[in-house]
């Protein structure tokens, strides 16, 4: 493009990014410790609050998986230390059945909601949306603050449920009725379940407040020149994530409200013809399947709420670090959009074995398999982005490439599971566990790690240690495949998930050593995650200070702010945007920032 705008020249704002503003006085307002670090309305501080809370949760949730892996890997070995810590829950050094179910339930709940939803989109939506679209803060900083504190309160309630006498909820992260609806059905369905429901309701409120803000900010607060098609893909991904959350979480809340009525008010929305311990209940006319419909109407979009932010982060990081424009920008947006739409139309593929009408099921099969199309487009575009790129193998790049690898491996098994006939065999086996951990769990974590390594300088003004980052990547990458790949074979052989002890089942005894290996690897991988946490906090205070405002040579607006931006982000005016976010390697220049006007002799192609 060559128009008059060229001759307006780089404005004052453009030049400011070379100047160091360690302290600026433009948006100076009185800040106490409380308003700056606790009840902060600054989106950057809220992002840090989300990630630190997310890290605490990830350690708890990860530790739980190590504990139940000990049981699965070594069902006949005593671990007296467990009894020291957990008392009667691990009598004789053995994890008791109720404890085992509590562990898997909390592992799922914590990681799906508290880490990969709040910790991931909470962190990066808060950090990146205002910085990358060129806004001083969110549309409503106050609601944003409330969003964090609702999340925090939800966390407190959930943690407190770990300490009640009858234990936390233990009916699986899905909390299917009728098990979750009847206090007499299990220990975990007593007060632990109530706390779980209260915590999740608070969590839904947090997520809605956050989501409303993200959507409103992206649509209304973009800086001059920042059209929707100039947004970095991180923002597009976070935008669709927020839409999914805003439309699906309320339905989950509806399901929870009906469940609460069933638990405490004597209704029978989900209950019918039930006998508990020989005692016949008088509940009649309810439908347990109704809960599954309401749950999975959120539950399926939820997995995209988890993966989409990672997709956005990976797109950005891969483009920046291969010094090439993202391949197929519009196709990337289109496939994000397609995934967001399809997310709402596939929930019943979680319910193929509930007696769902096979004719209806075939529609859900078709729609489920359709997701392969936008997913494949995205994978193709990531690969073509790094293809013949000048790859800079920073930890963030490695984690992004790792994400693509995991997304392919885990995505392919989704095609197996999306078929209602094959699902009859694979349902509730370790195959499912392998599939969703790779494609959604580990892959999203990789996106999150890529984001942390990439934006750490922006968050804290210091660099995170790269050597530890490389160790973190390789151990996690190899470990993730060693843990989850063998589970496919176990699942294909019919080994069920959620079982406490498979030793009486002779046909699965051949997997004993495999299970031991998985457990040992998961302990190692967990230890390496603790090393990452150490690296994170150590680098936060002692890391090498960043000296350049744009350490990665990236194009996006967050790198035009001072190294330690204050509340308001830009000391002067908000910069104007003149081009898309991906002008890398254009006309022999390594990168051209979004703030630079289009030159007269600039080529039209990338």
């Amino acid at each position: 493009m060559s128009n008059d705008a060229t001759y307006h020249g780089p404005s004052e704002v453009v030049t400011t990014h070379d100047v160091h503003h360690d302290e600026h006085h433009v948006h100076h307002h009185k800040e106490t410790f409380i308003t700056k670090y606790v009840f902060s309305q600054d989106h950057k501080m809220i992002a840090k609050q989300f990630i630190v809370t997310g890290i605490v949760w990830a350690i708890i949730g990860g530790l739980f998986s190590v504990l139940f892996r000990l049981q699965l890997g070594f069902p006949n070995v005593d671990f007296p230390i467990l009894e020291t810590f957990f008392g009667r829950w691990a009598k004789g050094g053995h994890i008791q059945p109720e404890f085992y179910y509590a562990l898997i339930t909390m592992h799922g709940t914590v990681l799906v909601f508290f880490v990969l939803t709040a910790g991931l989109s909470g962190t990066f939506a808060n950090l990146l949306i205002p910085l990358q679209i060129g806004a001083r803060d969110m549309a409503s900083p106050f609601l944003n603050m409330l969003s964090y504190w609702f999340f925090f309160t939800a966390s407190i309630v959930m943690v407190s449920s770990l300490f009640v006498q009858t234990g936390p909820a233990s009916g699986g992260w899905t909390s299917y009725a009728p098990l979750s609806a009847l206090a007499e059905a299990s220990e975990g369905s007593k007060v632990g379940m109530d706390l779980w429901l209260v915590s999740m309701a608070l969590f839904v409120v947090s997520s809605l407040l956050g989501g409303l803000n993200y959507i409103s900010t992206i649509l209304n607060m973009r800086t001059k020149g920042m059209s929707m098609t100039r947004l970095p893909l991180t923002i597009w991904a976070l935008f669709f994530t927020a839409i999914l959350g805003v439309l699906s979480f309320p339905v989950l809340l509806s399901g929870f409200i009906l469940l609460l009525f069933d638990r405490h008010a004597g209704t029978s929305f989900y209950l019918s013809d039930i006998v508990v311990n020989g005692h016949v209940l008088d509940n009649e006319g309810g439908s347990a399947i109704l809960y599954q419909h309401l749950f999975w109407f959120l539950g399926h979009p939820e997995v995209y709420i988890i993966i989409l932010p990672s997709m956005g982060i990976v797109s950005e990081v891969l483009s920046v670090n291969s010094r090439k424009p993202i391949f197929g920008y519009m196709a990337m947006i289109g496939s994000l959009f397609a995934i967001a739409i399809l997310a709402f139309l596939v929930w019943a593929h979680h319910m193929f074995v509930t007696g769902l009408n096979p004719f209806l099921g075939s529609f859900f099969v078709l729609l489920t398999l359709l997701i392969a199309v936008p997913s494949a487009i995205k994978v193709f575009n990531w690969l073509t982005t790094i293809w013949r790129g000048n790859l800079r193998l920073a930890p963030s790049t490695l984690f992004s490439i790792g994400f693509v690898s995991l997304f392919i491996s885990g995505g392919l098994t989704g095609i197996f599971l999306g078929n209602s006939t094959i699902d009859i065999h694979l349902h509730d086996t370790m195959f499912i566990v392998a599939h969703f951990h790779i494609v959604m769990g580990v892959a999203s974590f990789f996106g999150m790690f890529a984001g942390v390594y990439h934006w750490f300088p922006k968050m804290f003004g210091r660099d995170i240690n790269h050597t530890l980052g490389y160790i973190h990547f390789w151990v996690t990458m190899i470990g993730a495949y060693l843990i989850f790949w063998p589970m496919h074979y176990e699942g294909l052989a019919g080994m069920p998930r959620r079982y406490l002890d498979l030793t009486p089942w002779v046909s699965f005894n051949k997997f004993q050593t495999l299970n031991e290996m998985i457990t040992i690897v998961s302990i190692i991988v967990f230890a390496v995650q603790l090393m990452f946490v150490f690296n994170f906090f150590y680098s936060m205070f002692k890391g090498r200070k960043v000296t350049s405002t744009n350490p990665w040579g990236a194009n996006t607006l967050e790198w035009t702010t001072p190294i330690n931006p204050g509340h308001g982000n830009w000391p002067g005016e908000i910069p104007e945007v003149h081009r898309w976010a991906y002008d890398y390697g254009k006309d022999g220049r390594e990168f051209v920032m979004q703030t630079e006007p289009i030159g007269t002799n600039e080529s039209k192609d990338h």
Partner: protein
């Protein structure tokens, strides 16, 4: 793939020039998304109702007459809040305060009448035991009442501000948002009422 020529075109579009005046106020926009979210919640509940109503052992109910009165009340309150908004825009603050007060009272009255409706239904033998139309009505209508109550709280805050506020604020945005929300809960009730009349 997007070329720079394309990007140039986008720059000329109204969205790209960042013209704030053409855009809806971000808070109002947020409210609309919140309304979308609330709609999803009630869509979830009413579709659960539809699914259940097609199953055996479904127990229909007779909608209490009182709900007609509450419908009338909330319709009138929609009218009064619209008049309040107009009064605010015309800077007729006395009229505005009176109308806000009337709307608040009508909102509370609506909730009271819903309660009378519940009592009538309860006395006719429809309690929380079971899973028929009655139980759904209790849950869905209570949730709606909670949303009305939220609106009442907002109105009370505005009422206090209008009476005791030390700062003069002429921005009509909060009033417009309150009225939008109020019309929404009104509309939501009409939808639920028709829904229950038709399927109950």
């Amino acid at each position: 793939m997007l070329t720079n020529a394309n990007l140039g075109q986008f720059q000329q579009t109204p969205l790209g020039d960042g013209g704030q005046r053409r855009k809806i106020h971000p808070h109002k926009f947020t409210l609309w998304i919140a309304i979308g979210s609330i709609v999803m919640m009630f869509a979830g509940l009413t579709s659960a109702y539809i699914v259940k109503s097609n199953q055996a052992t479904w127990q229909p109910i007779v909608i209490p007459k009182v709900f007609w009165y509450s419908t009338a009340i909330i319709l009138v309150s929609s009218l009064t809040i619209q008049m309040a908004l107009r009064a605010f825009k015309d800077r007729e603050m006395n009229r505005y305060r009176t109308l806000i007060a009337i709307t608040t009272v009508l909102g509370i009255l609506f909730i009271v009448f819903q309660y009378f409706g519940f009592r009538q239904l309860w006395n006719s033998g429809v309690t929380l035991r079971g899973s028929g139309a009655g139980q759904f009505l209790y849950v869905i209508t209570s949730l709606h009442a909670v949303h009305v109550l939220g609106g009442v709280v907002a109105l009370v805050v505005m009422f206090i501000k209008a009476f005791f506020g030390t700062r003069k604020n002429y921005s009509s945005i909060p009033v417009e948002m309150a009225s939008t929300y109020w019309h929404f809960v009104d509309f939501l009730w009409i939808y639920l009422f028709i829904f229950f009349m038709w399927l109950g």
